[in-house]
Amino acid sequence: MGEYKVDAEKLKKLGDFIEGLEYAEGELINILREAQEMFGYLPMDVQLFIARKLGIPAAKVYGVATFYSYFTMTPRGKHVISVCLGTACFVKGADRIVEEFRKQLNIKEGTISEDGMYTLDSIRCVGACGLAPVVIVDGKVHGRVKPEDVAAIIRGINEDESGEQMLVKQNVQ
């Protein structure tokens, strides 16, 4: 008991975060958000840790984690592509955008690509209906996306990626 199969250092940080809250019991959602930020997702052991720390049933933590689509229990790819499937975006053809990403990246919605690079996700209304359909890539909003734009968006991610790698190489040199 007490052995968690996740990064101990991150877990300690999470523990400190919880202890720093004035009324931790009432801040489960905030704690889960912080945990997902740290770990990239919410593995079972992290949820158990939170439950024990707060003295609440693990089932409750799991209940909240599964209720909000923001939270995920599967690891995330390095780049997260979220397609809005809210009413406005859907009417404007968001389903075809999802289909295009799925084809080009060869992954299913809600899963991670084999090389761990991409996660394809759907979200419900980001409140930017004027830009429908909306795609968010690593926090950056793309508006009025058409299926033919998908290739360019993916290219953009890959270019950033290689740029980053070159920077790393230069630093090494």
Binding site: M44, L48, I56, P57, A58, A59, K60, Y62, F67
Partner: protein, 580 residues
């Protein structure tokens, strides 16, 4: 208390402040149907999720219909339960529930005992109007004790309230959302991998068959039909005062004689009494208590008859794992004695003896699978069926229970004292232990054996007894939420008791998870307790150590109380388990 004046269907009603519309309507004899709602005042269980919406009524000035179970009355309120809009809405709610509920009522374990079925009948629903996707979740019988069928769940969340708030075990929560919502353990784990203690209180409050016991009836029929086996049965103290309810006898009526006769007619080779095991438990436990007291052992000593409670401490209080008595529970003791003492005495091959326990309890099904509860490679008890399952077997066998003659238990494991009878109710085990410990410690006869302060439905009870000038303090808790409070205080060194009794179920075994469904009627549970105290009072022998057959057992077979052989057969150990 200030009164609230309102009208319901035009009738003036004077209600108390804080009352809901459902309760206020009862004053003028109007029944508003409810399903998810459950208020069991005595054990502080209130489920007011208002999730099923079958209690919708019209309130003047309010645009939407109001759930009557969760809406408090206010001055001048005008409620109508009988408008077409309200009647139709209530019916629609039930129809929607039925649109995603299996229609296997004919073969369902809750057939004729289901609150959803009842309400559908009462509202005159004749067809299931809506068709669409139906849930198809994994059924869970991994624990061998508690069966989960989420397809039959109506999301009333009574189980969640019972488990989290009353019992504080915290197994269930609503997870996922929308149509996918189910009430589930954390991470969708199978029950066997959780900290569930199998008290079965969730089955007592579940309105449908979403939560029931794992049935072992088939296994029992099978062993009964096997000519080669010697099948013996034992009955827990509490079931003799609950079995009669099914046969329209008053709650709490003692049906011991008919129960024994019925079991013989089912084909059991011997009918033994768990109460004999209870008397042995007391003899061993009282001895352990006195030893600990004399030798400065860790205090308090905790009773360990209740397998749910034992599993609770193993998961929740690893620091206290050495304080429960090491004594096995009465039915396990009777089980091991059948396969050793009885087998040797009557020259029967213990491998051919099958012990079946009739228990008020679901956790006993799990208890018999604990690997340390075996001797000579044989399980102490082979099968456990609940009171409800026994009723099922009796009706299958066509036994006219009410008109059976009274018969006696079989020797040598059939005689018991009044101390054993009260094991079935909260406070009973500790009272039984006190009767024996007092006499042994003082060498004086205890004239008044009734310890009234440990009886009754209060969640936590206390008593102190003067023994040889020493004040022996006793604590009693029933319901695991109350037990948790007591254990926390002990852990922090704030509570100082010498002996404590804990039963997992509110009220004790008379309200066990395997008892006939009481549907929140705690008066029924109180009548069951009164029935046990009446049996105790009517007996000449009321102290476990005066049971002549127990004395004989030690003399002929076990040797010394707490001695080597007694330890080998009658005692066990506990282990720390994960909290999940």
């Amino acid at each position: 208390m200030s009164k609230i004046h309102l009208t319901i269907n035009g009738l003036p009603v004077e209600a108390d402040k804080g009352m809901t519309i459902v309760d206020a309507a009862k004053i003028v004899n109007i029944t508003i149907p409810t399903l998810c709602h459950l208020n069991i005042h005595d054990i502080k269980m209130v489920n007011r999720t208002a999730s099923c919406r079958v209690c919708l009524v019209e309130v003047k000035g309010r645009r939407n219909l109001a759930p009557a179970c969760a809406t408090e009355v206010v001055e001048g309120m005008e409620v109508r339960t009988d408008t077409l809009r309200a009647v139709k809405a209530r019916r629609t709610m039930v129809e929607l529930l039925l649109s995603d509920h299996p229609t296997d009522c004919l073969v369902c374990e809750r057939n004729q005992n289901c609150q959803l079925q009842k309400i559908a009948a009462e509202l005159g629903i004749r067809k299931i109007k809506y068709e669409g996707v139906r849930s198809n979740h994994t059924k869970d019988s991994t624990s061998d004790a508690l069966y989960r069928n989420p397809d039959k769940c109506i999301k009333c969340r009574r189980c969640e309230t019972m488990c989290n708030e009353v019992q504080t075990v915290g197994i269930y929560s609503a997870v996922q959302k929308g149509f996918e919502t189910i009430v589930s353990p954390a991470f969708g784990l199978p029950m066997v991998d959780t900290q569930c203690v199998y008290c079965g209180q969730c089955t007592q409050v579940c309105p449908t068959a979403a939560l029931t016991e794992v049935s072992h009836i088939a296994k029992v029929w099978e062993v009964l039909a096997d000519e080669d086996l010697h099948v013996v049965v034992q009955t827990a103290p509490s079931i003799r005062v609950t079995l009669g309810e099914k046969y329209d006898m008053p709650p709490g009526e003692d049906v011991t004689g008919k129960m024994v006769a019925a079991l013989r007619r089912l084909g059991f080779d011997k009918v033994f009494d768990t109460n004999f095991g209870a008397d042995v438990t007391i003899v061993e436990e009282a001895n352990e208590f006195i030893e600990r007291l004399k030798n400065g052992g860790r205090m308090p000593i905790l009773t360990s008859c209740c397998p749910s409670w034992v599993k609770f401490i193993e998961h929740q209080f690893p620091n206290l794992i050495d304080i429960p008595s090491s004594c096995k529970s009465p039915h396990m003791i009777l089980g091991v004695l059948s396969k050793t003492y009885y087998a040797e005495k009557y020259n029967i091959d213990p491998k051919k003896i099958i012990m079946v326990s009739i228990m008020p309890c679901i956790a006993k099904k799990y208890e018999v699978t604990r690997e340390e509860l075996t001797n000579n490679g044989l399980r102490n008890v082979d099968h456990v069926i609940t009171t409800r399952e026994l009723i099922g077997m009796l009706s299958e066998a066509g036994i006219d229970f009410k008109n059976l003659p009274d018969e006696e238990f079989d020797n040598p494991l059939g005689i018991s004292t009044g101390a054993a009878d009260i094991f079935g109710t909260t406070g009973g085990v500790i009272e039984a232990a006190l009767r024996t410990a007092y006499e042994w410690m003082t060498d004086r006869e205890l004239e008044n054996v009734d310890f009234h302060s440990v009886r009754g439905m209060d969640g936590l009870k206390e008593a102190s007894v003067d023994i040889n000038g020493m004040e022996v303090k006793i604590g009693v808790a029933h319901g695991l939420g109350n037990a948790r409070e007591l254990l926390k205080a002990i852990e922090k060194g704030q509570a100082h008791y010498h002996a404590i009794e804990i039963m997992a179920c509110p009220g004790g075994c008379i309200d066990g998870g395997g008892q006939p469904y009481h549907m929140g009627d705690i008066e029924l549970v109180k009548a069951r307790a009164a029935g046990l105290y009446k049996i105790d009072k009517g007996k000449t022998l009321r102290k476990s150590h005066t049971n002549p057959d127990v004395i004989k057992l030690y003399k002929e077979y076990l040797g010394e109380i707490g001695g080597h052989r007694a330890h080998e057969l009658l005692h066990t150990h506990f282990k720390v388990r994960e909290k999940i």
